[in-house]
Amino acid sequence: MKVAIFENEFIFVEASFKAFNTIYCNNKLQYTVFVSSQSFGDLANLENYDMMIVDIDLSIMSQMDGYQLIETVEQSQIKKPSIIILTGHKAVNEQLKSRGLASYPIIAKPVNLTKIKEAFDHYKIDLT
């Protein structure tokens, strides 16, 4: 399973993802980390991923924040990957709603492997 993670401070959550991958995914999760929206390049290539995990507060160095990134993906014609939001703000889904965007499962910071699993469980994906 290919996952694109948009997170500019991945170092703090790296072990959580590794542990999740080891325990629940048999290390089959292939994730790539992007520190900004522009570091991904052409967003149309997101259709090559099964899932994208977006930190809503991407760095100010990023051309798009998490909301804009989700909005762009929602409005594009590509086959959309499943979306999970990484955030410290619990009211993020209300923000999405006010912007006319859909709701997505959230991994609330501080992150741990169980929170990641719960978010993945939302999509009922066979991780093994």
Partner: protein
């Protein structure tokens, strides 16, 4: 209708009645003094008909005004018929309506040359077969001239009154702040609506108000038409000259694409600021009239407009000050959000470390367990490394919260001002019946204290919210003294359900009276915390106590 026009209309009505009374008296004198052509009863009946027609037409405008005039001339001709109209004393009676022309009691303005009246006088002279003597026509000319001058005087007064009304209306309609340019726009509209002669003498096209910044920079403040760019040729020379002579005519100024050749600039100084009232004319105005007009008519109006501009300027400064406070608060919120973001990220390794420890025993595969144990070791080190930055950040935030309101500068204010601030806050609310009792003397009121006024107002408003929450509906604010004659303010609140809340109240009082905020912080009540922290910031001595069934907060406003 303005006060001037209303009063003028009422006076005209009264004059109209008086004029008819004078007419009747004159008729009586002439009938008694000369041989009458008709029998007496004809005159008597004619007088009754005259009065009746006048009363019937009294409230009628337009056509009524003309019919009243015809009525006057009918009876005049009847009375004078067969009498020696060539005698000055009799013939002058025909000129009476001319004197009355300015009093034409309608809302329409009188005409400077009453051609209808002149025509009727001429016709009357023909009916009466009077000789055309110079001694008759001289009064006609003189009275007409006087009428013209009176007419112009009224017209000018009405014009000035109309212009002043623009400013009054500006306040009345409450479209004031930020729309002062409407005054100039309305000014041009009203000026252009004024008929004929004034417009011809003073063909005003546009009005502008500029502010002189420094020694040369001219800034556009208001204009009767939207202008993007203005350019005074030789700006520095212009500023120098206007400071010397106060007014300049026909300076070369371009306003967007339009270059004015006929203009008049006048300098106004108000509270340290220098303004230029700049009037643009269609054609070159007649210069003696211009000077008179600018000095007597425009100056008072521009002075008032400039006062309004100044008030707006002051309000803008006040707004900017509040914007700065809002910005600071906004920055503080942003800082807090960034801190939360920072803490959330650094707490991740710690929470994940414990989560992995929790999950570890449930893992059955030895290989997975080994990998996880390695991860636990890595996460443990990362967690340890993050504890110090987390603690530092939290301390930093705690430190910042102590300075949350320090930006409000303290100022020296009188105790009278303290009294006014408290009274105003209580007056502005209507949920609590509050009695204000004052024992302070004039001397006490003159005493001063250092106070952060906005913060103090905030505390009082917060206090009122709390009083309302726990009150029976009545409270007293007592301005009094302690045993050492130090001025105090006591807020005495009659507590509702006192028996039920007594225990909690005593605990609240104890917590509140502690020197710090630690005890109050433990409570759920945010209002009391705000009051306590801000009273500490204000450095005001404060004491909460329960007296009988009342809760009393005592403040010592001399910090």
């Amino acid at each position: 209708m303005s006060l001037l026009k209303t009063a003028d209309y009422a006076i005209k009505k009264l004059n109209s009645i008086l004029f008819r009374l004078v007419n009747l008296i004159c008729f009586l004198i002439i009938c008694l003094s000369y041989n009458n052509y008709f029998p007496a009863y004809i005159y008597f009946l004619a007088t009754i008909v005259y009065v009746a027609i006048y009363l019937a037409l009294f409230r009628k405008n337009k056509i009524g005004r003309f019919l009243r005039l015809i009525n006057d001339f009918c009876i005049l001709n009847l009375i004078l018929y067969g009498k020696p109209v060539n005698e000055l004393g009799v013939g002058l009676l025909l000129f009476l309506p001319l004197i009355n022309t300015l009093n034409h009691s309608t809302h329409n303005e009188a005409k400077p040359l009453p051609y209808k009246v002149c025509f009727l006088i001429t016709v009357s002279f023909l009916i009466q077969k009077a000789d055309f003597r110079i001694n008759f026509w001289l009064p006609l000319v003189v009275i007409t001239c006087i009428n013209c001058l009176i007419y112009f005087r009224f017209k000018l007064m009405g014009y000035i009154d109309t212009l002043y009304n623009i400013i009054d209306k500006f306040y009345e309609n409450n479209f004031n702040i930020g729309k002062t340019h409407n005054i100039l726009k309305n000014f041009i509209e009203k000026h252009n609506n004024i008929s004929g002669w004034l417009k011809r003498f003073l063909p005003i096209r546009e009005l502008f108000i500029f502010r002189i910044r420094g020694t040369s920079n001219i800034q556009l403040l208001l204009s009767s038409r939207f202008v993007i760019k203005h350019d005074f040729s030789q700006e520095e020379t212009f500023v120098k000259k206007i400071f010397e002579s106060k007014s300049i005519s026909n300076w070369k100024v371009s306003l967007d694409a339009y270059e004015t050749s006929f203009n008049y600039s006048h300098l106004y100084s108000y509270k340290g600021e220098n303004y230029i009232a700049f009037t643009v004319f269609e054609t070159n105005p007649f210069s003696p009239t211009l000077k008179l007009y600018v000095e007597r008519v425009l100056n008072p109006i521009f002075n008032r407009i400039i006062e309004i501009i100044h008030v707006e300027h002051e309000l803008n400064l006040e707004n900017k000050r509040f914007h700065k406070i809002i910005k600071k608060n906004h920055d503080e919120i942003n800082d807090a959000l960034n801190a939360i973001h920072y803490l959330n990220n650094r707490l991740s390794p710690i929470t994940n470390y414990f989560e992995m420890l929790r999950v570890l025993p449930t893992i059955s595969s030895e290989e997975t367990r080994k990998s996880v144990e390695e991860l636990i070791q890595i996460e443990k080190n990362r967690a340890i490394n993050n504890i110090t930055p987390i603690a530092d950040k939290m301390n930093q935030m705690a430190q910042r919260s102590n300075f949350a309101h320090v930006s409000v500068e303290p100022q020296v204010i009188t105790l009278r001002k303290v009294f006014s601030l408290i009274r105003k806050s209580f007056d502005e609310q209507d949920e609590l019946a509050c009695t204000i009792e004052n024992h302070w003397s004039d001397e006490t009121f003159r005493g001063t204290t250092q106070m952060r006024v906005e913060l103090f107002e905030f505390v009082i408003d917060e206090l009122i919210s709390n009083l309302i929450k726990y009150s029976k509906g009545k409270c007293t604010v007592l301005f009094t003294f302690d045993d050492n004659n130090v001025p105090l303010v006591k807020f005495i609140n009659e507590i509702k359900n006192y028996d039920k809340v007594r225990a909690n109240l005593i605990k609240t009082v104890n917590d509140f009276n502690q020197s710090g905020i630690n005890e109050i912080l433990k409570r759920k009540s945010r209002g009391l915390l705000l009051i306590k922290t801000n009273l500490l910031q204000l450095n005001l001595v404060h004491q909460l106590s329960v007296i009988d069934t009342d809760l009393v907060l005592t403040l010592t406003p001399i910090a």
